[in-house]
């Protein structure tokens, strides 16, 4: 029961943080709100017995990357963003309506399914805590999940080069 309560608490924190990121007018507030979302996500990982990932989430995302974000925001000296009025004011209303409708559908579906609960896969929580969280992850990533691990490396490489391409000054 406590686990369920923690899940809902962390889920609310995460979603509220994410909503704050897109809706707050000042970019600095957005970044701070993103920290809340990341911390909530770390809490969610904890409720799933993934301690290592939770710590990594805090150290790398809420720590290192957020500092970087804050630096960029402060260096760029961003003002309050100008709000361009929507061409069709009904867009906001219909968007919200569809969003809420979709959310209701998802809720109904998730709660009507009976087979979603229970541990699945080769590594349920008991087994993981038996061997050790970090150990399982390290060994799995470099043996069975080697292809996704390497493909992830290529994906990050794309991100790095792509960011440089889009951000650099023009040569001429």
């Amino acid at each position: 029961m406590a686990g369920l309560f923690l899940f809902y608490l962390m889920a609310v924190v995460t979603v509220a943080g994410a909503v704050g990121v897109v809706s707050l007018p000042n970019p600095l507030y957005s970044v701070l709100s993103l920290i809340a979302a990341f911390l909530g996500l770390a809490g969610l990982y904890l409720t799933l017995n993934a301690e290592f990932i939770a710590v990594v989430q805090v150290v790398i995302y809420a720590g290192a990357i957020m500092v970087l974000f804050l630096f960029v925001v402060m260096l760029l000296d961003l003002r309050r963003e100008e709000r361009i009025p929507l061409r069709l004011p009904v867009q906001k209303f219909t968007g919200a309506l569809i969003g809420v409708g979709l959310f209701a559908v998802i809720m109904k579906v998730i709660f009507s399914g009976s087979l979603l609960t229970g541990a699945k896969g080769a590594f349920p929580a008991e087994r993981v805590s038996e061997i050790g969280n970090t150990q399982v992850l390290g060994k799995i990533l470099l043996t069975d999940y080697l292809l996704p691990f390497q493909a992830m490396g290529v994906l990050l490489f794309v991100g790095v080069i792509g960011a440089v391409v889009l951000a650099r000054r023009r040569a001429d």
């Binding site: 998802i106 579906v109 998730i110 009507s112 399914g113 009976s114 087979l115 979603l116 699945k120 896969g121 061997i131 150990q135 399982v136 060994k139 043996t143 069975d144 999940y145 080697l146 292809l147 996704p148 493909a151 992830m152 290529v154 994906l155 490489f157 794309v158 991100g159 080069i161 792509g162 440089v164 391409v165 889009l166 023009r170 040569a171 001429d172």
Partner: protein
Amino acid sequence: MPLVIPDISLSIAAPEVGLAILICVVVIADLFTSMENKAGMGVLSLAGVAILALIVLFQWGGGAQTTFSGFYIADDFSSFVKLVVFLTTIFTILLSLQYAKVEKINYGEFYVMILFAAFGMLVMASGNDLISIYLGLETMSISSYVLVSFIRHDPLSREAGLKYFLMGAFASGILLYGIALTYGLTGATSLTEIATALSGPQGAAIADDPVMVFSMILIVSGFGFKLALVPFHMWLPDAYTGAPTSIAAFMSVAVKMATVAAIIRVFFIAFPALAGKWNLLFWLLTVFTMVWGNVAAIAQTNLKRMLAYSSIAHAGYIMLGIVATTKIVGGKVVFTPDGLSAVLFYLVAYMVTNLGAFGMLIYLCREDFRGDNIEDWRGIGQDHPWAGMAFVVFFLSLGGFPPTAGFVGKLLLFGTAIQNEYYWLAVIGILTSAISIYYYFRVVMVMYMEPRGESQPAIEFSKAPSIFVALVVLVIATIYLGLFPGSIITAAKSSVAGLL
């Protein structure tokens, strides 16, 4: 927990390994190349990809082999897809070598990003697990976002990239949610293990669970976004119009090929138990896509935008083949490989045709005159009969006239649909292709019937030999596949034979 090293064979995954090495070589070589010689990076990539294509050809006929703990599968189907991806890459680079200078995007990273996208497509084609397919899809998509917004001094290109990125990121999220729910129900991400779970003792209960149906809908929508099926197509016209023309050509063929390959693998191998449901969904999406893609194309005055809508319509024809593969006989689902081999042939036909059509736009493009409006082509048929003829050949093939590749492709697709009793689908398909003839031939009419205006700049085609060679090869291939489609059809048939 003992460390068990799984059996990993790099030679099975040679195309991917080789492409990763090629990417590193090009990235490093780019550092030592001066701004004037960046086309050399294109030539280097071209040579590398050609060698890798030969490696894939050598792998052809080797039977299905899995490695990387079942994450990777190499069979004739994946080899077929990889060959199409490599050929598209080769033609894209040929069309880009001079065009990149015209658009002032002549950086080494341009070719690196094309190679990265191709890498993602290869991983998708060989993906035997939802995780590796997703990672390939994401590698392909992120490289495409960058490629679309590569003309950074053009606001249109930046806008296109941003729109594509937002929609694409959203679609990836939807796809991932579907994958997560599937894992929650079946405890597996491997395609074969999902199929085992769905056919096991609990299988029928899982397949009927509303969550399973919902996760399948999410996966369909996620792939639908990437393939730009109506109503998930909103990003495509803007993205293609703003993108560099050679990239629009690349995406319209290669991204479709890889996504279709992933769809075929995921749905036919992992979810045959749900075939009745996803087939109905795909049926609806196919009809919307064929109708709206063709109707919206009529109103376009920009050729790139018209070809973008036409590519939406063609995605509909491709999906028609996938729908027609499933046949329901007496309440039981039977897969007929004819539909899938028709899809593969159609994709090859579409590759040579559409690369050619976009290639014609690149042929006309120069620094002060982009030439992507329909009226820019006024009088070209009279003044430049050969160029006009080439464009007519591509339009004939897009519209599905004999003796071109597009005709054989549509014949196979509609033939399978009728054979498997999808009469409505075939009728709608044929009617919408009739609509498409209108907008393709409007361009032909402008080229031949309308004289060039006084104020219009004189026609001056690109003098780059690479573009000329690519276009000649594509025209010949379009007609050749229309007259002698046998070898490709046989190859397509044998590549899907081991799949179903």
